[in-house]
């Protein structure tokens, strides 16, 4: 197919056999990833199989070293698996990356300090060759989506941490990829800001109908946001449990006090504890 031998191992499977009603967006089968380090090989992912359907909100939760970020980076083709197969939109992750299939939000906002918020959001659009008029249109669209209209002319240092992270989400949304990958995007923010952003993120998800992959350390965050919670455990990084959430799509913040929510949170906590008990 091409000269990159590494992609051979992760050739997409035929997605046609999928019985689920919704289209499969991300499909991992027996995924393995071993890092070669100076201290010997590190087994970051072992035998990870998962299917994510269109429009799902999937959270990856687990202790440090469980491979949740690594798995997300594999989907984004920022890491290359050493075994198994992985497809994104029916393509290899690298093809999907080159087709700009996903927007990625890192833990730090990573806005360019020398660009205004608008210009930061334009960065991917400039790189992808959108016209000036189209850039303006999309910037105002996504600024509105993350409730930052009117802040386009500000420089990052003039915004709070939460606002900066919202701007970085806007940047990831600007080119309208179907998939949004978020690596602990609210990890560095305080609880109150985090609650607010979680609420906003759910609204945004409902409006855009994107498929979201979300890495987190926080059980309430994972349960509140997700339609599917993937509990992972470390050494080697693997999937311990996959919980399909029974919560309705409409979720006010106080749903977190409902018995249903507490039950799911309990199951996640049990999963994390069991995963930890192995070592």
């Amino acid at each position: 197919m091409n000269m990159e031998t590494t992609t051979q191992a992760i050739r997409p499977e035929a997605a046609a056999s999928d019985p689920a009603s919704a289209e499969t967006v991300i499909k991992a089968r027996n995924l393995d990833l071993t890092f070669q380090t100076n201290d010997g090989p590190v087994h970051a992912l072992k035998d990870v199989s998962l299917e994510v359907h269109k429009g799902e909100f999937v959270s990856f939760i687990g202790p440090s070293g469980c491979g949740k970020t690594t798995f997300l980076r594999c989907i984004a083709a920022l890491e290359t698996p050493t075994g198994g197969s992985l497809s994104v939109n029916g393509m290899t992750p690298d093809e999907a990356r080159r087709n700009r299939a996903y927007g990625y939000v890192f833990q730090a906002a990573g806005l360019y300090p020398w660009r205004t918020i608008s210009k930061n959001i334009k960065l991917p659009l400039e790189i992808m060759g959108y016209s000036k008029a189209e850039q303006e249109k999309r910037v105002s669209q996504v600024l509105e989506l993350v409730e930052l209209s009117g802040f386009g002319g500000k420089f990052p240092w003039q915004l709070s941490g939460g606002m900066q992270q919202r701007a970085s989400i806007a940047r990831a949304l600007a080119f309208d990829a179907d998939i949004l990958l978020m690596d602990e995007p609210f990890g560095a923010l305080d609880e109150i800001v985090r609650d607010h952003l979680n609420e906003q993120l759910l609204k945004l998800w409902a409006r855009t109908n994107k498929t979201i992959g979300f890495v987190t350390h926080s059980i309430p965050e994972a349960v509140y946001l997700s339609t599917k919670i993937v509990v992972m455990s470390p050494r080697p990084g693997r999937i311990h449990d996959v919980i399909d959430s029974t919560l309705p799509k409409e979720r006010p913040l106080d749903i977190r006090d409902s018995p249903e929510f507490i039950e799911i949170a309990h199951r996640v906590r049990e999963g994390l504890r069991a995963g930890h008990g192995d070592d």
Binding site: L78, R97, R100, F106, G110, W114, L123, I127, F155, F175
Partner: protein
């Protein structure tokens, strides 16, 4: 206001120390002259005074202290002597005069600026190559470092002779020496600056499927600006030193270096010191100018004031 007082205090202390240093430095010369003029000094003859300590001589001949600050060819000229010489050779002389320091400074300045431009351009080009190519990193960087370990005073005559033998003379050899000194800080600073973006920033560009060119213009180059300006300030000062050193071995007739050399041939210490000060003032002005440019550029880039 408070800092102004502090600055002036330091300045006053330096000047006071300078005046104080003039006394022991010049006392023997003053006493020799006084002896020739028939004034009674202790001890009476130059031979006896030769091995005495300067401080002892000052103590025994306190009448001569005032004269240590007004000698015509002192070992160490007093601050006001240098100031007067600076005034006379800048303001009171026509700019075209061979005795005008402005004339000499402008000769050195043109070589400095040309060398600085060459050095900066070369430095940036090398840095871009080093950052983008591992081969260049391994093959160029060691030589850049080695080049700076050779004393420029040893290398300058060779550069001038070699260039002269192929018919290049005038401003170019001096500019080459300037460039030789100024490219290095630019290379080091720019390499550091172009590598400043962290892994996350580079990953972000990768998720956009950005190519190397876009990464350079949109991320690496803007990230390197603060580093570049820090390097340029060192580079311009080094350029000036290079141009002056380039004037020393050629028997050049114009330039601050030539002025230094002529002063030392004829024991004109006041002339040497005023040339030194002219060089220092010039360097300070150039660095200040770059600082101003840095402020403007970084402000346009939205850096927090």
């Amino acid at each position: 206001m408070k800092s102004l007082v502090a600055v002036l205090t330091v300045l006053a202390a330096i000047i006071a120390f300078w005046y104080a240093a003039c006394v022991p430095m010049n006392i023997k010369g003053v006493l020799d002259a006084a002896e020739r003029a028939g004034v009674e000094v202790t001890p009476a003859t130059a031979k006896e005074r030769r091995d005495r300590s300067e401080f002892g001589l000052v103590a025994k001949n306190s009448f001569a202290i005032n004269d240590t600050w007004v000698q015509e060819r002192p070992r160490l000229p007093a601050p006001h002597q240098v100031a007067v010489e600076l005034w006379e050779t800048t303001v009171e002389k026509k700019v075209t005069s061979k005795r005008s320091l402005i004339y000499h400074a402008q000769v050195t300045l043109s070589a400095t600026l040309l060398g600085f431009a060459i050095g900066t351009g070369l430095g940036i080009l090398l840095a871009v190559g080093i950052v983008h190519s591992r081969v260049m990193d391994m093959s160029v960087m060691p030589w850049a470092i080695v080049s700076q370990t050779i004393p420029i005073i040893a290398l300058a005559p060779m550069i001038i002779v070699v260039l002269y033998s192929i018919g290049v003379q005038g401003i170019i050899p001096k500019a080459v020496i300037s460039a030789y000194l100024s490219f290095f800080p630019v290379v080091v600073g720019m390499v550091k600056g172009l590598r400043a973006p962290d892994a996350m920033q580079l990953d972000l560009l990768k998720t956009y499927n950005a190519n190397t060119n876009q990464g350079f213009w949109k991320l690496r180059l803007p990230s390197s600006m603060p580093y570049l300006f820090a390097s340029l300030k060192i580079g311009i000062a080094a350029s000036l030193v290079g141009a002056i050193v380039g004037e020393l071995p050629t028997g050049a007739v114009a330039g601050l270096g030539a002025r230094l050399l002529a002063g030392s041939y004829y024991g004109q210490t006041v002339q040497i010191w005023s040339a030194l000060f002219a060089a220092a003032i010039l360097a300070a002005a150039l660095v200040a100018l770059l600082g101003l440019m840095e402020k403007l550029v970084l402000k346009r880039m939205g850096v927090q004031a």
